[in-house]
Amino acid sequence: MKWSEVFNSSVGKKLVMALTGLFLISFLIVHAGINACIWAMDGGEMFNKAAHFMGATVVIRIMEIGLFIGFLIHIFQGLSLELQNRAKRKVGYAVELGNKGSKWYSRSMGLLGTILLIFLIIHWKHFWIPSRFTGVEEVTLSNGVTTHNMFALMQSTFSELWVVVVYVLACVSLCWHLIHGFQSAFRTMGVHNDRFLSLLNSVGIGYSVIISLAFAMMPVTMYLGWVS
Protein backbone atom coordinates (compact mmCIF):
# COMPACT_ATOMS: atom_id res chain seq x y z
CA MET A 1 0.00 0.00 0.00
CA LYS A 2 1.37 3.40 -1.01
CA TRP A 3 2.04 6.03 1.67
CA SER A 4 -0.34 8.40 -0.12
CA GLU A 5 -3.12 5.78 0.12
CA VAL A 6 -2.48 5.30 3.83
CA PHE A 7 -2.55 9.02 4.64
CA ASN A 8 -5.54 9.71 2.40
CA SER A 9 -7.62 7.02 4.10
CA SER A 10 -9.98 8.04 6.90
CA VAL A 11 -7.79 6.23 9.46
CA GLY A 12 -4.59 7.76 8.07
CA LYS A 13 -6.02 11.29 8.24
CA LYS A 14 -7.00 10.70 11.85
CA LEU A 15 -3.50 9.36 12.58
CA VAL A 16 -2.05 12.68 11.41
CA MET A 17 -4.41 14.50 13.81
CA ALA A 18 -3.42 12.17 16.65
CA LEU A 19 0.34 12.44 16.11
CA THR A 20 0.38 16.22 15.67
CA GLY A 21 -2.04 16.53 18.60
CA LEU A 22 0.22 14.55 20.91
CA PHE A 23 3.21 16.57 19.68
CA LEU A 24 1.37 19.80 20.59
CA ILE A 25 0.37 18.26 23.94
CA SER A 26 4.06 17.67 24.70
CA PHE A 27 4.84 21.24 23.60
CA LEU A 28 2.26 22.61 26.07
CA ILE A 29 4.14 20.96 28.95
CA VAL A 30 7.35 22.78 27.93
CA HIS A 31 5.46 26.04 27.39
CA ALA A 32 3.73 25.84 30.79
CA GLY A 33 6.96 24.86 32.51
CA ILE A 34 8.93 27.82 31.09
CA ASN A 35 6.10 30.25 31.82
CA ALA A 36 5.74 29.01 35.40
CA CYS A 37 9.07 30.81 36.03
CA ILE A 38 7.03 34.03 36.34
CA TRP A 39 6.00 32.77 39.78
CA ALA A 40 9.59 32.72 41.04
CA MET A 41 8.84 36.13 42.65
CA ASP A 42 12.21 37.55 41.61
CA GLY A 43 11.00 40.44 39.46
CA GLY A 44 10.94 38.24 36.38
CA GLU A 45 14.68 37.44 36.48
CA MET A 46 14.24 33.67 36.17
CA PHE A 47 11.50 33.99 33.54
CA ASN A 48 13.54 36.38 31.40
CA LYS A 49 16.51 34.01 31.61
CA ALA A 50 14.32 31.12 30.51
CA ALA A 51 12.83 33.22 27.69
CA HIS A 52 16.34 34.25 26.63
CA PHE A 53 17.38 30.58 26.57
CA MET A 54 14.39 29.73 24.39
CA GLY A 55 15.04 32.63 22.02
CA ALA A 56 18.83 32.54 21.77
CA THR A 57 19.52 28.82 21.53
CA VAL A 58 19.92 27.73 17.92
CA VAL A 59 18.66 24.18 18.52
CA ILE A 60 15.44 25.52 20.00
CA ARG A 61 15.01 27.93 17.11
CA ILE A 62 15.24 24.97 14.73
CA MET A 63 12.74 23.04 16.87
CA GLU A 64 10.47 26.07 16.63
CA ILE A 65 10.15 25.41 12.89
CA GLY A 66 9.00 21.87 13.72
CA LEU A 67 6.46 23.34 16.12
CA PHE A 68 5.09 25.62 13.42
CA ILE A 69 4.78 22.71 11.01
CA GLY A 70 2.99 20.71 13.72
CA PHE A 71 0.56 23.55 14.33
CA LEU A 72 -0.09 24.09 10.62
CA ILE A 73 -0.74 20.42 9.87
CA HIS A 74 -3.01 20.02 12.91
CA ILE A 75 -4.99 23.16 12.00
CA PHE A 76 -5.40 22.49 8.28
CA GLN A 77 -6.02 18.76 8.61
CA GLY A 78 -8.47 19.41 11.46
CA LEU A 79 -10.46 22.01 9.54
CA SER A 80 -10.53 19.95 6.35
CA LEU A 81 -11.63 16.80 8.21
CA GLU A 82 -14.37 18.77 9.97
CA LEU A 83 -15.68 20.04 6.62
CA GLN A 84 -15.40 16.62 4.95
CA ASN A 85 -17.19 14.88 7.82
CA ARG A 86 -19.96 17.46 7.94
CA ALA A 87 -20.58 16.98 4.21
CA LYS A 88 -21.32 13.27 4.75
CA ARG A 89 -24.90 14.03 5.84
CA LYS A 90 -26.57 16.43 3.43
CA VAL A 91 -30.07 16.03 4.92
CA GLY A 92 -29.99 16.43 8.70
CA TYR A 93 -32.33 15.21 11.41
CA ALA A 94 -35.40 17.08 12.66
CA VAL A 95 -34.68 15.78 16.17
CA GLU A 96 -30.98 15.53 16.99
CA LEU A 97 -29.39 12.83 19.14
CA GLY A 98 -27.51 15.57 21.01
CA ASN A 99 -26.06 14.66 24.40
CA LYS A 100 -27.86 11.32 24.58
CA GLY A 101 -24.96 9.50 22.99
CA SER A 102 -21.87 11.62 23.31
CA LYS A 103 -20.33 14.55 25.15
CA TRP A 104 -20.82 18.01 23.67
CA TYR A 105 -17.09 18.71 23.68
CA SER A 106 -16.36 15.49 21.76
CA ARG A 107 -18.70 16.68 19.02
CA SER A 108 -17.34 20.24 19.13
CA MET A 109 -13.63 19.67 18.50
CA GLY A 110 -13.83 21.75 15.31
CA LEU A 111 -15.50 24.65 17.12
CA LEU A 112 -13.14 24.47 20.12
CA GLY A 113 -10.19 24.21 17.75
CA THR A 114 -11.35 27.28 15.83
CA ILE A 115 -11.66 29.25 19.08
CA LEU A 116 -8.11 28.15 19.92
CA LEU A 117 -6.89 29.19 16.47
CA ILE A 118 -8.33 32.69 16.93
CA PHE A 119 -6.74 32.81 20.38
CA LEU A 120 -3.44 31.62 18.91
CA ILE A 121 -3.39 34.57 16.49
CA ILE A 122 -4.11 37.03 19.33
CA HIS A 123 -1.45 35.30 21.45
CA TRP A 124 1.18 35.53 18.68
CA LYS A 125 0.37 39.20 18.24
CA HIS A 126 0.83 39.81 21.98
CA PHE A 127 4.13 38.01 22.50
CA TRP A 128 5.72 36.14 19.61
CA ILE A 129 5.57 38.91 16.99
CA PRO A 130 6.95 41.67 19.32
CA SER A 131 9.71 39.31 20.46
CA ARG A 132 10.74 38.29 16.94
CA PHE A 133 9.97 41.33 14.81
CA THR A 134 8.60 44.53 16.28
CA GLY A 135 10.85 44.68 19.35
CA VAL A 136 10.52 44.51 23.11
CA GLU A 137 12.20 46.76 25.69
CA GLU A 138 15.55 45.39 26.88
CA VAL A 139 16.61 44.38 30.35
CA THR A 140 20.04 43.41 31.73
CA LEU A 141 20.03 40.15 33.67
CA SER A 142 22.16 39.52 36.80
CA ASN A 143 24.71 37.62 34.66
CA GLY A 144 25.22 40.71 32.51
CA VAL A 145 23.30 39.46 29.46
CA THR A 146 20.94 41.96 27.87
CA THR A 147 17.70 40.45 26.61
CA HIS A 148 14.02 41.17 25.93
CA ASN A 149 12.06 42.00 29.07
CA MET A 150 9.28 39.50 28.34
CA PHE A 151 8.20 39.64 31.98
CA ALA A 152 7.42 43.36 31.69
CA LEU A 153 5.60 42.70 28.40
CA MET A 154 3.46 40.08 30.15
CA GLN A 155 2.70 42.47 32.99
CA SER A 156 1.63 45.27 30.66
CA THR A 157 -0.38 42.90 28.42
CA PHE A 158 -2.22 41.37 31.36
CA SER A 159 -3.00 44.74 32.94
CA GLU A 160 -6.05 44.98 30.68
CA LEU A 161 -9.13 43.12 31.86
CA TRP A 162 -10.40 42.12 28.40
CA VAL A 163 -7.09 40.43 27.60
CA VAL A 164 -7.28 38.42 30.83
CA VAL A 165 -10.88 37.39 30.05
CA VAL A 166 -9.93 36.29 26.50
CA TYR A 167 -7.02 34.23 27.84
CA VAL A 168 -9.11 32.54 30.53
CA LEU A 169 -11.86 31.68 28.01
CA ALA A 170 -9.21 30.25 25.68
CA CYS A 171 -7.90 28.11 28.54
CA VAL A 172 -11.41 26.79 29.18
CA SER A 173 -11.69 25.87 25.48
CA LEU A 174 -8.24 24.30 25.64
CA CYS A 175 -9.27 22.17 28.60
CA TRP A 176 -12.30 20.67 26.79
CA HIS A 177 -10.32 20.28 23.55
CA LEU A 178 -7.61 18.35 25.41
CA ILE A 179 -9.96 16.16 27.46
CA HIS A 180 -11.35 14.71 24.23
CA GLY A 181 -8.17 14.97 22.18
CA PHE A 182 -5.82 13.24 24.63
CA GLN A 183 -7.69 9.93 24.87
CA SER A 184 -8.98 10.11 21.28
CA ALA A 185 -5.39 10.35 19.98
CA PHE A 186 -4.46 7.09 21.69
CA ARG A 187 -7.60 5.37 20.40
CA THR A 188 -6.75 6.52 16.87
CA MET A 189 -3.25 5.11 17.24
CA GLY A 190 -4.83 1.77 18.08
CA VAL A 191 -4.79 1.45 21.88
CA HIS A 192 -7.74 -0.85 22.46
CA ASN A 193 -6.92 -2.46 25.77
CA ASP A 194 -9.70 -1.35 28.14
CA ARG A 195 -7.37 -1.15 31.13
CA PHE A 196 -5.04 1.22 29.28
CA LEU A 197 -7.93 3.21 27.84
CA SER A 198 -9.40 3.93 31.26
CA LEU A 199 -5.92 4.83 32.57
CA LEU A 200 -5.30 7.13 29.59
CA ASN A 201 -8.71 8.70 30.09
CA SER A 202 -7.86 9.59 33.71
CA VAL A 203 -4.37 10.80 32.81
CA GLY A 204 -5.87 12.87 29.99
CA ILE A 205 -8.40 14.57 32.27
CA GLY A 206 -5.69 15.25 34.87
CA TYR A 207 -3.31 16.64 32.26
CA SER A 208 -5.99 18.79 30.61
CA VAL A 209 -7.20 20.35 33.86
CA ILE A 210 -3.73 20.98 35.29
CA ILE A 211 -2.27 22.46 32.08
CA SER A 212 -5.31 24.67 31.42
CA LEU A 213 -5.47 25.83 35.02
CA ALA A 214 -1.73 26.64 35.03
CA PHE A 215 -2.06 28.71 31.85
CA ALA A 216 -5.23 30.44 33.09
CA MET A 217 -3.57 31.42 36.37
CA MET A 218 -0.77 33.30 34.55
CA PRO A 219 -2.87 36.25 33.29
CA VAL A 220 -5.10 36.12 36.38
CA THR A 221 -2.29 36.32 38.94
CA MET A 222 -0.58 39.06 36.92
CA TYR A 223 -3.79 41.09 36.60
CA LEU A 224 -4.42 40.81 40.35
CA GLY A 225 -0.86 41.94 41.05
CA TRP A 226 0.12 38.76 42.90
CA VAL A 227 3.28 38.40 40.81
CA SER A 228 6.12 40.76 41.70
Binding site: S9, K14, A94, V95, G98, S102, V191
Partner: protein, 253 residues
Amino acid sequence: MEQTINVTLRVWRQKNANTDGKFESYPVSNVSTEMSFLEMIDVLNEQLIKEGKDPIAFDHDCREGICGMCSMYINGRPHGPWHANTTCQLHMRAYKDGDTITVEPWRANSFPVIKDLVVDRSAFDRIIQAGGYISVNTGNAVDANAVPVEKQKADSAFAAAACIGCGACVAACKNSSAMLFVSAKVSHLSLLPQGAPERKTRVMNMIAQMDKEGFGACTNTGACEAVCPKEISISNIARLNQEYLSSSFTTAE
Protein backbone atom coordinates in the same frame (compact mmCIF):
# COMPACT_ATOMS: atom_id res chain seq x y z
CA MET B 1 -50.51 -3.91 32.59
CA GLU B 2 -52.06 -3.36 29.21
CA GLN B 3 -53.45 0.07 28.54
CA THR B 4 -54.57 1.83 25.42
CA ILE B 5 -53.08 5.16 24.47
CA ASN B 6 -53.45 7.69 21.69
CA VAL B 7 -50.32 8.98 20.02
CA THR B 8 -49.49 11.25 17.11
CA LEU B 9 -46.88 10.06 14.64
CA ARG B 10 -44.82 12.60 12.73
CA VAL B 11 -43.37 10.53 9.92
CA TRP B 12 -40.96 11.37 7.12
CA ARG B 13 -42.73 10.73 3.80
CA GLN B 14 -40.66 10.63 0.63
CA LYS B 15 -41.87 9.11 -2.63
CA ASN B 16 -38.46 8.06 -3.93
CA ALA B 17 -34.78 8.96 -3.93
CA ASN B 18 -35.26 11.70 -6.51
CA THR B 19 -38.02 13.66 -4.81
CA ASP B 20 -37.94 15.85 -1.70
CA GLY B 21 -39.61 14.49 1.38
CA LYS B 22 -41.56 16.10 4.18
CA PHE B 23 -43.04 15.27 7.56
CA GLU B 24 -46.67 14.27 7.84
CA SER B 25 -48.61 13.83 11.06
CA TYR B 26 -50.96 10.90 11.70
CA PRO B 27 -53.06 10.38 14.83
CA VAL B 28 -53.10 6.73 15.94
CA SER B 29 -55.81 5.89 18.47
CA ASN B 30 -56.43 2.98 20.81
CA VAL B 31 -52.86 1.71 20.66
CA SER B 32 -52.20 -1.17 23.06
CA THR B 33 -49.12 -0.55 25.20
CA GLU B 34 -48.23 -4.20 24.61
CA MET B 35 -47.88 -3.62 20.88
CA SER B 36 -44.44 -3.30 19.35
CA PHE B 37 -43.61 -0.07 17.59
CA LEU B 38 -43.80 -1.80 14.21
CA GLU B 39 -47.19 -3.35 15.03
CA MET B 40 -48.42 0.15 15.82
CA ILE B 41 -47.25 1.25 12.35
CA ASP B 42 -48.96 -1.83 10.86
CA VAL B 43 -52.21 -0.62 12.44
CA LEU B 44 -51.66 2.88 11.07
CA ASN B 45 -50.87 1.46 7.62
CA GLU B 46 -54.10 -0.54 7.53
CA GLN B 47 -55.92 2.64 8.43
CA LEU B 48 -54.10 4.49 5.61
CA ILE B 49 -54.90 1.73 3.10
CA LYS B 50 -58.59 1.87 4.06
CA GLU B 51 -58.50 5.61 3.50
CA GLY B 52 -57.01 4.98 0.07
CA LYS B 53 -53.66 6.54 1.02
CA ASP B 54 -50.15 5.25 0.43
CA PRO B 55 -48.98 3.21 3.46
CA ILE B 56 -45.71 4.13 5.17
CA ALA B 57 -42.82 2.10 3.75
CA PHE B 58 -40.41 0.78 6.39
CA ASP B 59 -37.81 -1.97 6.61
CA HIS B 60 -38.44 -4.99 8.83
CA ASP B 61 -37.93 -8.72 8.73
CA CYS B 62 -37.49 -11.01 11.73
CA ARG B 63 -39.20 -8.76 14.30
CA GLU B 64 -37.23 -10.45 17.04
CA GLY B 65 -34.22 -8.18 17.19
CA ILE B 66 -31.66 -10.29 15.35
CA CYS B 67 -31.79 -9.45 11.64
CA GLY B 68 -30.87 -5.76 11.59
CA MET B 69 -33.49 -4.73 9.06
CA CYS B 70 -35.55 -2.24 11.08
CA SER B 71 -34.03 1.18 10.91
CA MET B 72 -36.11 3.97 12.37
CA TYR B 73 -34.72 7.11 13.93
CA ILE B 74 -37.32 7.71 16.64
CA ASN B 75 -37.46 10.99 18.56
CA GLY B 76 -33.79 11.72 17.88
CA ARG B 77 -32.41 8.25 18.58
CA PRO B 78 -31.84 5.23 16.33
CA HIS B 79 -34.16 2.37 17.35
CA GLY B 80 -35.98 4.56 19.88
CA PRO B 81 -35.43 5.34 23.56
CA TRP B 82 -34.53 1.92 24.99
CA HIS B 83 -30.92 0.88 25.50
CA ALA B 84 -29.53 -2.07 23.46
CA ASN B 85 -32.77 -2.50 21.59
CA THR B 86 -33.99 -2.69 18.00
CA THR B 87 -37.07 -0.85 16.73
CA CYS B 88 -39.03 -4.12 16.43
CA GLN B 89 -38.38 -4.84 20.11
CA LEU B 90 -39.46 -1.37 21.17
CA HIS B 91 -42.92 -1.52 22.72
CA MET B 92 -45.55 1.14 23.01
CA ARG B 93 -45.31 1.07 26.83
CA ALA B 94 -42.31 3.32 26.27
CA TYR B 95 -44.81 6.10 25.46
CA LYS B 96 -47.52 8.01 27.27
CA ASP B 97 -50.99 8.94 26.14
CA GLY B 98 -50.87 12.04 23.97
CA ASP B 99 -47.20 11.73 22.96
CA THR B 100 -46.02 12.98 19.60
CA ILE B 101 -43.39 10.66 18.12
CA THR B 102 -41.12 11.84 15.31
CA VAL B 103 -39.90 9.05 13.02
CA GLU B 104 -37.14 9.68 10.49
CA PRO B 105 -35.08 7.43 8.22
CA TRP B 106 -31.33 6.90 8.81
CA ARG B 107 -29.64 10.05 7.52
CA ALA B 108 -26.34 9.68 5.67
CA ASN B 109 -25.29 10.33 2.10
CA SER B 110 -24.16 6.70 1.92
CA PHE B 111 -27.65 5.53 2.97
CA PRO B 112 -29.90 7.21 0.36
CA VAL B 113 -33.64 7.09 1.08
CA ILE B 114 -35.46 4.62 -1.20
CA LYS B 115 -38.92 5.46 0.10
CA ASP B 116 -40.28 6.98 3.33
CA LEU B 117 -38.30 5.25 6.12
CA VAL B 118 -36.51 2.73 3.89
CA VAL B 119 -32.87 3.49 3.13
CA ASP B 120 -30.41 1.73 0.84
CA ARG B 121 -27.81 0.03 3.05
CA SER B 122 -26.11 -1.92 0.26
CA ALA B 123 -22.93 0.06 1.01
CA PHE B 124 -22.52 -2.30 4.00
CA ASP B 125 -22.83 -5.31 1.69
CA ARG B 126 -20.07 -3.94 -0.54
CA ILE B 127 -17.82 -3.38 2.52
CA ILE B 128 -18.37 -7.02 3.53
CA GLN B 129 -17.65 -8.15 -0.04
CA ALA B 130 -14.36 -6.23 0.10
CA GLY B 131 -13.01 -8.43 2.92
CA GLY B 132 -15.54 -9.39 5.57
CA TYR B 133 -15.11 -13.13 5.05
CA ILE B 134 -12.65 -15.98 5.44
CA SER B 135 -11.60 -18.36 2.68
CA VAL B 136 -12.05 -22.03 3.51
CA ASN B 137 -10.76 -24.95 1.47
CA THR B 138 -13.36 -27.44 0.31
CA GLY B 139 -13.23 -31.03 1.45
CA ASN B 140 -14.08 -32.59 4.77
CA ALA B 141 -15.14 -30.20 7.49
CA VAL B 142 -12.38 -29.68 10.05
CA ASP B 143 -13.23 -30.84 13.56
CA ALA B 144 -14.69 -27.83 15.38
CA ASN B 145 -12.28 -28.09 18.31
CA ALA B 146 -9.16 -28.80 16.26
CA VAL B 147 -7.92 -25.21 16.34
CA PRO B 148 -7.30 -23.86 19.84
CA VAL B 149 -8.64 -20.34 20.46
CA GLU B 150 -7.68 -18.24 23.46
CA LYS B 151 -10.74 -17.77 25.67
CA GLN B 152 -10.50 -13.95 25.88
CA LYS B 153 -10.10 -13.64 22.11
CA ALA B 154 -13.01 -16.00 21.51
CA ASP B 155 -15.17 -13.86 23.82
CA SER B 156 -14.14 -10.59 22.14
CA ALA B 157 -14.67 -12.06 18.68
CA PHE B 158 -18.08 -13.35 19.73
CA ALA B 159 -19.08 -9.96 21.18
CA ALA B 160 -18.05 -8.27 17.92
CA ALA B 161 -19.87 -10.90 15.85
CA ALA B 162 -23.12 -9.83 17.53
CA CYS B 163 -23.24 -6.87 15.08
CA ILE B 164 -26.37 -7.21 12.95
CA GLY B 165 -25.32 -4.50 10.46
CA CYS B 166 -28.40 -2.34 11.02
CA GLY B 167 -26.52 0.93 10.51
CA ALA B 168 -27.62 2.65 13.74
CA CYS B 169 -23.95 3.57 14.32
CA VAL B 170 -23.86 5.49 11.03
CA ALA B 171 -27.22 7.10 11.78
CA ALA B 172 -26.08 8.31 15.21
CA CYS B 173 -22.58 9.45 14.24
CA LYS B 174 -22.17 13.16 13.59
CA ASN B 175 -19.72 12.22 10.81
CA SER B 176 -21.91 9.43 9.38
CA SER B 177 -18.96 7.15 10.02
CA ALA B 178 -19.29 3.38 9.55
CA MET B 179 -16.30 2.63 11.75
CA LEU B 180 -18.22 0.76 14.46
CA PHE B 181 -19.73 -1.59 11.86
CA VAL B 182 -16.42 -2.16 10.06
CA SER B 183 -14.54 -2.55 13.35
CA ALA B 184 -17.01 -5.19 14.56
CA LYS B 185 -16.59 -7.19 11.34
CA VAL B 186 -12.79 -6.83 11.30
CA SER B 187 -12.46 -7.69 15.02
CA HIS B 188 -14.76 -10.67 14.69
CA LEU B 189 -12.61 -12.28 11.99
CA SER B 190 -9.12 -11.03 12.81
CA LEU B 191 -9.18 -12.17 16.43
CA LEU B 192 -9.67 -15.78 15.38
CA PRO B 193 -7.04 -18.10 13.87
CA GLN B 194 -9.40 -18.81 10.94
CA GLY B 195 -9.19 -15.14 9.98
CA ALA B 196 -5.41 -14.89 10.20
CA PRO B 197 -4.38 -15.60 6.56
CA GLU B 198 -6.38 -12.63 5.20
CA ARG B 199 -5.88 -10.41 8.22
CA LYS B 200 -3.86 -7.65 6.53
CA THR B 201 -5.67 -7.44 3.21
CA ARG B 202 -9.07 -7.69 4.90
CA VAL B 203 -8.72 -4.52 6.98
CA MET B 204 -7.09 -2.50 4.18
CA ASN B 205 -9.71 -3.48 1.61
CA MET B 206 -12.63 -2.93 3.95
CA ILE B 207 -11.40 0.55 4.98
CA ALA B 208 -10.76 1.43 1.32
CA GLN B 209 -14.31 0.37 0.43
CA MET B 210 -15.73 2.22 3.46
CA ASP B 211 -14.04 5.43 2.30
CA LYS B 212 -15.17 4.84 -1.28
CA GLU B 213 -18.79 4.49 -0.13
CA GLY B 214 -18.57 7.99 1.33
CA PHE B 215 -18.77 7.33 5.07
CA GLY B 216 -17.07 9.87 7.36
CA ALA B 217 -14.02 9.50 9.57
CA CYS B 218 -14.27 8.48 13.22
CA THR B 219 -13.77 11.17 15.86
CA ASN B 220 -14.33 8.86 18.85
CA THR B 221 -17.41 10.66 20.18
CA GLY B 222 -18.99 7.40 21.33
CA ALA B 223 -22.49 8.05 19.93
CA CYS B 224 -22.34 4.78 17.93
CA GLU B 225 -21.65 2.66 20.98
CA ALA B 226 -24.43 4.39 22.95
CA VAL B 227 -27.13 3.54 20.40
CA CYS B 228 -25.91 0.14 19.20
CA PRO B 229 -28.68 -2.45 19.71
CA LYS B 230 -26.03 -5.13 20.15
CA GLU B 231 -23.76 -3.09 22.47
CA ILE B 232 -20.74 -3.32 20.18
CA SER B 233 -17.87 -1.69 22.09
CA ILE B 234 -16.13 1.39 20.68
CA SER B 235 -12.86 -0.31 21.67
CA ASN B 236 -13.34 -2.32 18.47
CA ILE B 237 -12.71 0.92 16.56
CA ALA B 238 -9.36 1.34 18.30
CA ARG B 239 -8.57 -2.28 17.42
CA LEU B 240 -9.53 -1.55 13.81
CA ASN B 241 -7.16 1.45 13.81
CA GLN B 242 -4.35 -0.75 15.08
CA GLU B 243 -5.13 -3.48 12.54
CA TYR B 244 -5.21 -0.94 9.72
CA LEU B 245 -2.06 0.95 10.70
CA SER B 246 0.02 -2.15 11.37
CA SER B 247 -1.19 -3.75 8.13
CA SER B 248 -0.79 -0.74 5.86
CA PHE B 249 2.64 0.18 7.29
CA THR B 250 4.04 -3.31 6.90
CA THR B 251 2.98 -4.32 3.39
CA ALA B 252 5.95 -4.63 1.03
CA GLU B 253 4.52 -2.59 -1.82
